[in-house]
Amino acid sequence: MKNRQELVEKIETLSRDSDPAFQINTNEVLATYQHLDENRTNITIKILSILGVIISVLSFLGALFSLNLLDDKLNLIICGSIFLIIAIYCIKKYNTIIIDTASITSYIVGGWMLIYGIDTDHINNILILCLVINLSTLAIVQRYLISLLNILCIIYALIALISYNTDHLIWIAFMNIVLMVALMYVLMQEALLLSKRNIMSTIYQSLRIALTLSTIATTAYIVLSHFKTYETYDNNTAIALYTLSVAYSVVILYLVRKIIQKFDNRMANKSILIYILVILILGSTIINPGISGAIILILLCFYYQYKFGLSIGIIALLFFLWHFYYNLNFSLLTKSIFLMLSGFVFLAIYYVINSKKINNEKI
């Protein structure tokens, strides 16, 4: 366990130059730290719990199927509701990793049974039911894992609703823009959300992860479905792709401005050059909004030092770059020359930035 003295010191450092009216409940803070410390887990325990949950869910469902218990719908509804209620009750009452994992299993199984048991032919009804279950759970309990699950389910139920009821990909592109704006808001207004001390600040971490994942996954969905169908003749996905690209470009320019401002006056004389380069890069990748989306994620998450988002952004960037070059309609020879040229462009930018730095140091 961490040293109590160290913790107190840390709290004091953090509250050093505060307002005169500042009050802190040191005991509560210490208790939170102690609870965290007691439940500190490593990767082994996390993976073990997830594997255990997967095996037990699978064997449970296997048993249900093979014993033909899934035939009676009323059974399913009753069992499902019981599972859901037990899960929510346990998560609300206890706060340890083991109970959390076990409850989430029973939550997933229960929710699935309930939806399967109500047995409606309308996909819309199923999705709305899913929305209702997740929204009400989110209102009742807020805990890291279960809230993450709830928020992801809510976002994807909404996207599925849109995709089921319209043929046009542009609505999903709009939804994606909304998600990106929400992610930016959550990251930029961290202080505001934390200072509210309400439901938003409790689910803050889950919200951040869910938005990061769903933004990039939805972009990937749009990009992939465009390239899968773009040779068919009733293809209407291009407009969605370009809308997304333009929206992302605007966001990137805004972020670049924000970053330049951080450097005070040192970058001001070069800012026009930087904007032109950024617009050139964005213009050349307009057919693949995934690249600009991943760049946004990288810049945004580095700005606010959000490590998980940063790694997701880097992986996404590699994937979309591969996809971009793979789908270019050129021969392999032209592609290889393009690759080398773009590499030289990046190295040239690096050289320019660093030669300026060396000159400055000489002066």
Partner: protein, 317 residues
């Protein structure tokens, strides 16, 4: 004092009336990226992207023209790369780790060279010949360099050679015997490594140690489950005894070195074996119900045990 991070600010902000401005100030000061970080980040980002693009461009360039290239050029290009890697690692005055990385790259190129050679001259050799030659010809490098990623590649090569040899040349071994052979090969390597590090008091990288243990336990688990399902316990006897000895040694090692990973892996492996026995004995559908409850209870108990161990060990430090 420890560094202050985002969580500290979030936790301490929960139980007080710290204003929004104050939180913003703290986050700016302790968490968000500063101009200095941005400079480092941009340098790295541009450099990696630039070099990555140029290298992949060169690779694609050769890939495109590969069919038209003369066989001398084909082998020549790879040999040239091989020689460059080796000379650089001997001649350049760079850090030890970069030299080792160059030798690892050279070891990979040996494989590429054999593959190209086989493709040009249509040697008609089995796949196992290829892997065997690759394994033999990098052995000296592996031993002298003593670089763990290279050791891992070497282990993978040996295992692949054995599996392919059994597949393509000698079909005498059934799957249980093959698992036994692989188990003993990797298990002895793993035990020797653990014992040697204790003897010489050196450190092995955790990722290497854990990968090796995970491989050995997976082979043992699959092998034993297989012999249970095929009702060939007599054939699997050697494997079972070996596994028991290995697990006992690992648990002892884990206690000494405070590794929860070892205990977690072994516990999970035993759990799977017990489940296989249950399924094999009862052969009824209802057993799945029992298993799902059994798994939840055992995993919960295992996690609880690991948490307790971890707490005990951190307190001892």
């Amino acid at each position: 004092m420890e560094k202050i991070d985002r969580d500290d600010i979030a936790i301490t902000s929960k139980h007080n009336n710290r204003s929004r401005k104050q939180i913003e100030y703290l986050l700016e000061q302790y968490v968000y990226a500063k101009p200095k970080d941005w400079k480092k980040f941009l340098d790295l980002f541009l450099l990696v992207l630039g070099i990555g693009f140029v290298v992949s461009g060169v690779i694609f360039f050769f890939a495109f023209n590969w069919a038209e290239l003369n066989k001398f050029v084909k082998i020549g290009v790879i040999l040239l790369l091989l020689i460059i890697c080796i000379t650089c690692s001997f001649q350049l005055k760079i850090k030890e780790i970069y030299k080792k990385m160059l030798i690892t790259a050279a070891a990979m190129l040996v494989g590429v060279l054999f593959a190209v050679f086989g493709q040009i001259y249509q040697t008609g050799a089995n796949e196992y010949d290829f892997f065997l030659a690759w394994t033999i010809f990098i052995t000296i490098w592996v031993i002298t360099t003593h670089f763990y990623p290279l050791w891992l590649i070497y282990m993978v090569l040996i295992n692949t050679t054995i599996i392919l040899f059994n597949d393509q040349v000698q079909n005498n071994l059934n799957s249980i015997a093959l698992y036994t052979l692989l188990f003993f090969l990797n298990g002895i390597a793993c035990t020797a490594l653990l014992a040697l590090t204790k003897y010489y008091k050196t450190d092995i990288p955790l990722w290497f140690r854990n990968t090796l243990v995970l491989t050995v336990t997976s082979i043992a688990t699959v092998g034993i489950s297989l012999s249970i399902f095929d009702s060939k316990l007599q054939q699997g006897l050697l494997l079972i005894i070996g596994t028991l000895a290995f697990y006992a040694y690992c648990i002892k090692y884990a206690q000494r070195n405070k590794s929860t990973f070892f205990i977690g892996t072994i516990g999970f492996s035993l759990l799977i074996i017990v489940n296989s026995i249950l399924i094999h004995i009862f052969k009824e559908d209802f057993i799945l119900f029992f298993i799902s409850i059994f798994v939840i209870i055992t995993v919960t108990a295992l996690i609880k045990f690991l948490l307790n161990l971890q707490r005990k060990w951190t307190n001892e430090k």
